[in-house]
């Protein structure tokens, strides 16, 4: 028993150095060498300012931008407090919240489901192509742009399934909105 305790203590300390320090540092070293941008979170700069990460969603609620999904992370898209709503399908709070979202997003026809439901992380950077195309008319009107121009822009930002098979088609909201801002606004 005493011998086993000695072994256990020594073994714990030795493997802590190997697995808790050596391993993560080795991964960090290789990551920095080969995939520097990814390892730092694919940060996006505009005019010398950090405007976000290509992987992390941002809140957009005004008429001039494509809206992100509702978020339960902090006050909305708080990337230091990721969280889903965790509301049950039978929860009155969930149904009230979606009803309010539907009232805001309501356009022509029923609202695509992802636009009125909160994601698991609260940081979902994407909306479905359905949700993006659904918002084209509103954004075009708010910006005084032809509908066709905005629709083409959305089409250009549709990411297909990875390798044509994995995941679901999606539209990156932050990148789409940055592209919108980059177009010369008419108004």
């Amino acid at each position: 028993m005493k011998k086993q305790i000695t072994i256990a203590v020594l073994y714990t300390l030795l493997t802590t150095v190997l697995l808790g320090v050596g391993y993560p540092l080795a991964v960090t070293a290789v990551a920095r060498l080969l995939f520097h941008r990814q390892a730092d979170g694919e940060l996006i700069m505009r005019d010398g300012h950090l405007v976000g990460s290509a992987l992390i969603g941002q809140p957009f609620t005004g008429p001039r931008y494509f809206h992100s999904r509702p978020s339960a992370a902090g006050a909305g898209y708080d990337a230091s407090a990721s969280s889903g709503s965790n509301l049950a399908a039978s929860s009155k709070a969930l149904l009230d919240r979606t009803e309010a979202s539907v009232a805001v997003e309501k356009n022509d026809g029923p609202v695509p489901v992802d636009l009125v439901t909160a994601s698991g992380s609260g940081l979902d950077p994407d909306i479905t192509p359905a949700a993006a195309f659904y918002q084209v008319a509103r954004v075009a009107a708010a910006r005084g742009l032809p509908v066709q121009v905005v629709e083409d822009l959305v089409q250009k930002h549709v990411t297909e399934r990875q390798f044509g098979l994995l995941g679901e088609p999606r539209v990156h909201v932050l990148e789409l909105n940055l592209a919108l801002d980059a177009m010369a606004p008419k108004s």
Binding site: L19, A75, N86, L94, V113, L123, L165
Partner: protein, 587 residues
């Protein structure tokens, strides 16, 4: 549901079955201490470890010695992590200047990671420093998985050996599991994850300027403007890799594998799911090879695959259904959206990958999530709950799944023996009353802890019920799921409730502890007893354990035991919620 969704699920199953053979064969070589291609690198490290720690690698342990070594090692690592959490405020690599972790959370977390549960009652990005995550918690992902592998191998040796009093050497099995299996695989997976965008750095949290500043309605009618976004960072990829391979499941971030920094693309999602099943599936092949009956290994793998396939089909179907009470919302599947129940799910994964991930993570005792199980439809959430309640033996946790399944095998063989009126035999070993008693002890501890704690919690309105996020039958589901997850060492949760209270931190801590260690001891006792026995030559009355009939009997025993034990509780939770939801009742 879509064709593409089914194709992804099929591809996943096919790859798991395909990879089981090479991975299992490799583990046989590793644990029988035969030559592998990694000997040149791992051999010197192994010998150095033994020399420095004073381990005699050729010493063979009896089952009691094996159990003591395992318990002592677990205790030491538990204490180390507890101390590190408490003292993180004065330790380095604390870029956010986080204070020491409170005692009840620290103890709960230390037990949680030691027992391979990774139940997390805290929000990682605002509670744990980089040092605590990397040195205190990620190390446990290796250790607890290596312990699981070692125990599974010890059990398999118990079946394979004849008239032997020993099961192997715990330290040697632990070391070989770490150096030959977990560490090299984690290195490769971590780099692959980084290439797709999983972060790996020690930056302080970044602060981005929002493209569109947001007005926030505050309390008392005042509103403020939010102009920045704080982005949590960290050494995530290295932890993510072993979190999956070791079926640990503890997230670096609160949202776990739903967080884009843990799981940014459909490819990382696929790799992470594959990593969960890789070792448990391979172990069935290792079992077949070490006991000298590869067909038996395949029969066990087949039983697991059947239970898995049924679960994922049910879950995918349930999550594709529209919420009957949501109006003015397009919930159907089309070319442009996966549709279904998207609350708590990410667009890049959609319904198919969320249902698949939920099934995988609860079949194995992983507990990582890429979607919030709490927001699943009642029947969709029932699938992960049932998977855990069956004992996580469908592939199961690394090692823990196999030995849990083998206990069911003993019971299945025993029942077959009763049916034909002969002393049951398992691979030439007579199964006698001691073996069956220990197996039943193993099977009974589990529901006793889950239902016991759930019943106590339900009877305490202030401490037990006030924390719940959802009311009505779903509230009961949340409590049931919590204790199932803790006792089953899964770690996923119906996460909406505030589990970070004294009652739940301590009671789930006890549940996790019992669910791991109190179940390991009878399991090792069976192994030790089996190893001592003589081999009886097979006769016409021997029930073969290599046939489809055996597979079906095994599946039947698992389902009947699970159903008889938990059906009443389940019918008051998810089933009742489903019926009421479709009758228009909300809570």
């Amino acid at each position: 549901m879509s064709l593409n969704g089914w194709l992804q699920i099929l591809l996943f199953i096919a790859l798991v079955l395909l990879l089981a053979q090479p991975v299992g064969s490799y583990m046989t070589l590793v644990f029988e201490r035969r030559r592998t291609w990694l000997d040149g690198v791992c051999g010197p490290v192994e010998r150095l470890l033994y020399r420095l720690a004073g381990i005699d690698a050729d010493y063979e342990m009896r089952w009691t010695e094996y159990a003591v070594a395992m318990l002592v090692f677990s205790a030491v690592t538990l204490v180390l992590t507890y101390l590190m959490e408490r003292l993180q405020g004065i330790l380095p690599l604390n870029t956010q200047h986080l204070p020491g972790v409170p005692a009840d959370v620290a103890l709960n977390t230390a037990i949680s990671f030691t027992t391979n549960t990774n139940w997390q009652s805290y929000v990682p990005e605002t509670t744990m420093s980089y040092l605590t995550q990397m040195v205190g918690l990620a190390t446990h992902n290796f250790w607890s998985a290596a312990v699981g592998l070692a125990l599974a191998i010890a059990f398999v040796r118990g079946i394979a050996r004849r008239e032997s009093s020993t099961l192997g050497n715990f330290w040697v099995d632990l070391t070989r599991a770490t150096l030959w299996v977990l560490l090299p695989m984690s290195l490769v997976l971590a780099i692959a994850l980084v290439s797709q965008g999983v972060v790996q750095n020690f930056r302080p949290y970044d602060r981005a300027t929002l493209v569109e500043p947001q007005r926030i309605a505050g309390s008392g009618g005042q509103s403020s403007t939010m102009t920045t976004q704080t982005i949590a960072q960290g050494p995530v990829a290295s932890q993510e890799a072993i979190k999956m391979l070791g079926t640990n499941g503890g997230g670096f971030f609160n949202a776990n594998s739903a967080h884009p920094f843990e799981n940014p693309t459909p490819l990382t999602n696929f790799l992470e799911m594959l990593a969960i099943f890789l070792l448990p599936a391979g172990l069935t092949v290792t079992l077949g090879q070490i006991v000298g009956s590869p067909k038996h290994g395949r029969a066990v793998l087949a039983a697991m695959t059947i239970l898995f396939a049924v679960g994922v089909m049910a879950c995918y179907w349930a999550e594709s259904q529209p919420n009957p009470l949501m109006h003015g919302v397009a919930q159907g599947h089309s070319e442009q959206q996966s549709g279904g129940n998207m609350e708590g799910k990410e667009v890049r994964f959609g319904v198919a990958n969320s249902a698949l991930f939920a099934t995988v993570t609860t079949d194995a005792s992983c507990g990582a999530v890429n979607a919030m199980h709490d927001s699943f439809t009642p029947l969709g959430g029932l699938v992960p709950m049932v998977n855990i309640l069956l004992g996580e033996i469908v592939f199961g946790g690394v090692g823990a799944g196999l030995y849990g399944m083998l206990v069911f095998v003993v019971i299945a063989v025993f029942i077959a023996g009763l049916m034909v009126g002969r002393t049951p035999e398992y691979l030439g070993k007579k199964i006698e009353s001691y073996d069956v008693q220990m197996s039943m002890l193993y099977l009974l501890i589990f529901p006793l802890v889950i239902l016991g704690f759930a019943a106590v919690s339900v009877m305490m309105p202030s401490t037990g019920l006030s924390v719940l996020a959802n009311k009505g039958p779903h509230g009961l589901s949340e409590i049931l799921y919590a204790y199932a997850s803790a006792t089953g060492n899964n770690g996923s949760a119906f996460a909406g409730s505030n589990w970070n209270t004294h009652w739940y931190n301590y009671s789930t801590g006890v549940a996790m502890f019992i669910g791991r260690f109190l179940m390991i001891v009878p399991m090792l006792a069976i192994a030790g007893n089996l190893a001592r026995k003589k081999i009886v030559p097979a006769s016409a009355g021997t029930f073969p354990v290599t046939t489809p009939l055996f597979t079906l009997l095994l599946v039947g025993v698992i389902v009947v035991v699970g159903a008889l034990t938990f059906f009443p509780a389940i019918s008051l939770g998810p089933v009742l919620e489903h019926l009421l939801l479709h009758a228009g009742q909300t809570f």
